[in-house]
Subunit: 278 residues, 2 copies
DNA sequence: TATAATAATGACTAATCGGTCAATTGTCAA
DNA sequence: TTGACAATTGACCGATTAGTCATTATTATA
């Protein structure tokens, strides 16, 4: 399993430098110091490697944003946290982000594209909830404009990460964007994005998360989680979810037990989404 | 020469759909209805095709923005024009824009990347001049933040062009972004980008435009310009520029003669830049 | 119409790609 | 030390790529 991790890391390195298509499996295996055959013991294909890398990371982003939005802090602080954690994630995974920005990924797997789109819609929903909480009725008309603007600002500043080679003052950046967001939210009068234009952004296919997928994720985690409490919680969680009458209180409690483990964040997010949409 | 144009158009079509790397020369020639050999009569290599396509378009963007910024209109109108012409350009060249967004082009030619970077810096300069004119001393501190924000907003809304399939109300969009720009310019207090962070954005390598390149461009245009006045102006312009003591007044007058020809815009821009930097 | 000049063709090459699998090496219980 | 089993290797495969060039078709000229 460590081999798999090694391959993914080295692959991200090369993908970031050269692009995905221009990086051959040969190059990856050479950088890892393994043979080509060994690569195909860990991954069925080059495509599976790409999907794994991106899937892993998107899960991290999505659950991170969701955690921020659902935190018990006051809303202004949440907005700050949203920006800060977005940029932190970027800084901590520079290489991946570089690769992700470099490729627009229209070349690869259609299924992967759908998934990316789905995750994007989920983060949009989370951001909209945050905006609702922050400004309420006041931005009813222009919340989609605000969403697009926030995305634009975030992306634009994100690019600086790759062109400027000094460590950035992330808290300051987050505060600057909070100010801009508040400005745009409170004083914008011209609405561009009407409901009509927004259908695509608004309605994600909410039936994407199924109980089967959750169980799969639990089984995957069972193999890598070492902590006793967490492992036990996973077992009970699996039983509860497969139960005909699952008890929400128990499930939510179990989620609390595992939510601090980085690997479990995606599972926590999925279960929460699943419960919300029932 | 028409063949060259055909190839470029069809290539853009395929590049936009499949990405540059995944599009083979074979596919391009098939779509054009010509043979593979014929392709290599028009282009030395696939790389030259890519460079030509991108170079052509970047010249168009750069000279367009410059034209807006240097127009005699009042400044608020210029800002509106800036946004409007940016989006118009995008709408008129959807396929190219799609391709440009899709690939981040780090795969190809390093020389091309340098050139893209150079053009980007030129547009930055033009935008900064516009901002200076608009807000003067007031945004001295945060003009770079404003620049980055404007770029972010533009890009973010640009993406809608490819996800939403209804024709967009561009004048409204331009007005909306003018409002946002004014808001950010007039009420932002937190400055993130200080002079220190901004070196890369600020100092383009200004020696890029040389008299040799200008002469080359004139020679190129001589072959395609049909209008009598324009053709004559090009001849005189060439003589003037090679003259030991070129007369600015004459040169500027000659530029007036050709500035309305789409093909000549880049030449006009280069000469202006050249004169400014002397 | 005959001849020269030019334009266009597509079979071909060498290189590289993702992916396979017989052969080899490493591990560990008996 | 042996032998059974698992892990690992890299030569090899078919497919595809960018680019070439001897040959053929077309056009211009005399």
């Amino acid at each position: 399993m460590a081999k798999r991790q090694l391959i993914m890391e080295k692959a991200i390195e090369l993908f970031a430098k050269q692009g995905i298509e221009s990086t051959s499996v040969q190059q990856i295996t050479e950088l890892c110091g393994i043979s080509k055959g060994a690569f195909y013991l860990s991954f069925k294909s080059k495509d599976e490697l790409i999907v794994s890398i991106i899937d892993d990371f998107i899960k991290k982003i999505t659950s991170d944003i969701d955690r921020v939005v659902n935190s018990p802090k006051n809303v202004q602080e949440k907005l700050y946290d949203f920006y800060l954690s977005s940029f932190k994630l970027l800084q901590d995974h520079r290489e991946f982000a570089k690769m992700f920005i470099k490729e627009q990924l229209h070349t690869v797997n259609q299924a992967l594209l759908n998934r990316i789109n789905y995750y994007e819609q989920l983060t949009n929903q989370a951001m909209l909830r945050l905006l609702d909480e922050l400004y309420g009725e006041k931005i009813k008309e222009n919340k989609y404009d605000l969403l697009i603007s926030m995305r634009g600002l975030t992306e634009s500043y994100s690019k600086l990460f790759f062109t400027i080679n000094v460590p950035l003052n992330l808290p300051l950046l987050a505060r600057a964007l909070v100010e801009k967001t508040n400005l745009l939210a409170n004083h914008t009068s011209i609405v561009f994005l009407n409901e009509n234009l927004v259908q695509q952004i608004k309605h994600p296919s909410t039936d994407y998360i199924t109980i089967t997928k959750i169980i799969q994720e639990i089984d995957r985690l069972k193999k890598i989680v070492t902590n006793q409490l967490e492992s036990e919680s996973l077992d009970i969680l699996k039983n509860q979810l497969q139960n005909d009458v699952p008890t929400h209180a128990i499930i939510l409690g179990l989620l609390q037990n595992i939510k601090n483990n980085e690997d479990c964040k995606w599972l926590v997010f999925m279960v929460e989404q699943y419960l919300n949409n029932k």
